[in-house]
Symmetry: C2
Subunit: 199 residues, 2 copies
């Protein structure tokens, strides 16, 4: 977006979403996060729906950037780095980001346009996980009987649950991380070590 005030309003909307959650998102809260007035916000975005659509596009970019930032020399290292990024809870930034995404996801069932965008977030996560699992299978790091798409579905599901419990139910990071790591072990390890990994 070349339009500077519009971009600034979008940044303020993101900050307001992180601070107040979807239910607390008001034009006043957005104005409070920027130097712009409510009137200026209304001038740049005709409706709250239009602003929200722009916000979700912006949030998607931030989400994709976070996923892409997870790197490593091996597939297993990349997978661990991805899980680190997805379960990072350093306040205020990580926690605010993940609660913002959760807030939008939980709102999606009530709003078709929103659900379409949230489904794109989900697909991006799935594809990223599938690609790293496939690379690990190709490199003989993971069991070659693993189906990358099946493993990625299961990983995505457990990771989303870990985020929901971590940030919603205030479950400890360690417990949520263990659930994800346990699944990674159970799904991807070569069968020879599978048994020993149980308690």
């Amino acid at each position: 977006m070349d339009d500077e005030p519009a971009a600034e309003i979008l940044d303020a909307t993101y900050l307001a979403l992180c601070e107040h959650g979807y239910a607390g998102l008001t034009i006043q809260n957005i104005a409070d996060e920027s130097d712009r007035s409510k009137a200026t916000i209304h001038y740049h975005y005709d409706s709250k729906e239009e602003l929200l659509a722009a916000l979700l596009d912006d949030l998607y970019e931030r989400y994709a950037d976070r996923l892409d930032a997870a790197d490593g020399d091996t597939a297993r290292q990349r997978l661990d780095a991805l899980v680190d990024v997805l379960l990072a809870d350093e306040p205020p930034l990580d926690r605010a980001f993940h609660t913002a995404v959760l807030s939008v996801t939980a709102r999606a069932p009530h709003d078709d346009a929103m659900q379409e965008r949230v489904t794109a977030f989900d697909r991006r996560l799935f594809e990223t996980l599938r690609d790293v699992v496939a690379a690990g299978v190709d490199a003989d790091e993971f069991d070659d009987r693993v189906d990358p798409a099946v493993a990625a579905e299961r990983l995505a599901t457990t990771i989303k649950g870990a985020q929901l419990r971590r940030f919603g139910a205030d479950r400890s990071t360690e417990r949520c991380r263990d659930a994800v790591d346990g699944l990674v072990e159970a799904q991807l390890r070569p069968p020879a070590v599978a048994e020993g990994a149980r308690r």
Copy 2:
């Protein structure tokens, strides 16, 4: 609650939450779901916070009732029945119920009193899962090296993720169910059949 109008208002609040989600919950929406006026609602509940606290207590009872309703002759059957209940998506009732719980969970990071109650929901789920896994280990249905608390943490995490993806990201029920079933197999099956269950 002996107070009939108050109970009726609570039922209407539940219906409004299912219909509109937390962000769309207004006294007007609650009035629309009942025969009571906004003034009557304000008379019975001093503040929106008080009404919300009563709603969460009510939702907790409904949640506990759903978990308790899952039954079966064996631990494995009880576990499958629990997963059925937790991932049921028959519209409008199941879908509305689960999206209502998700909506409240995603709101929790922004509200300490709410987070305390959402954490109680989470603990109830964890304890129910832990008890059924422990019963299955005692009855030699599940591998006796399984730690019921560890398995229950992992199951709870994947089930919450399956709900979030099913109702938020509109992922298919089958894919989400497979993620949970895959975890049940990987965590609880006797080791002799462990390998064959992979693709």
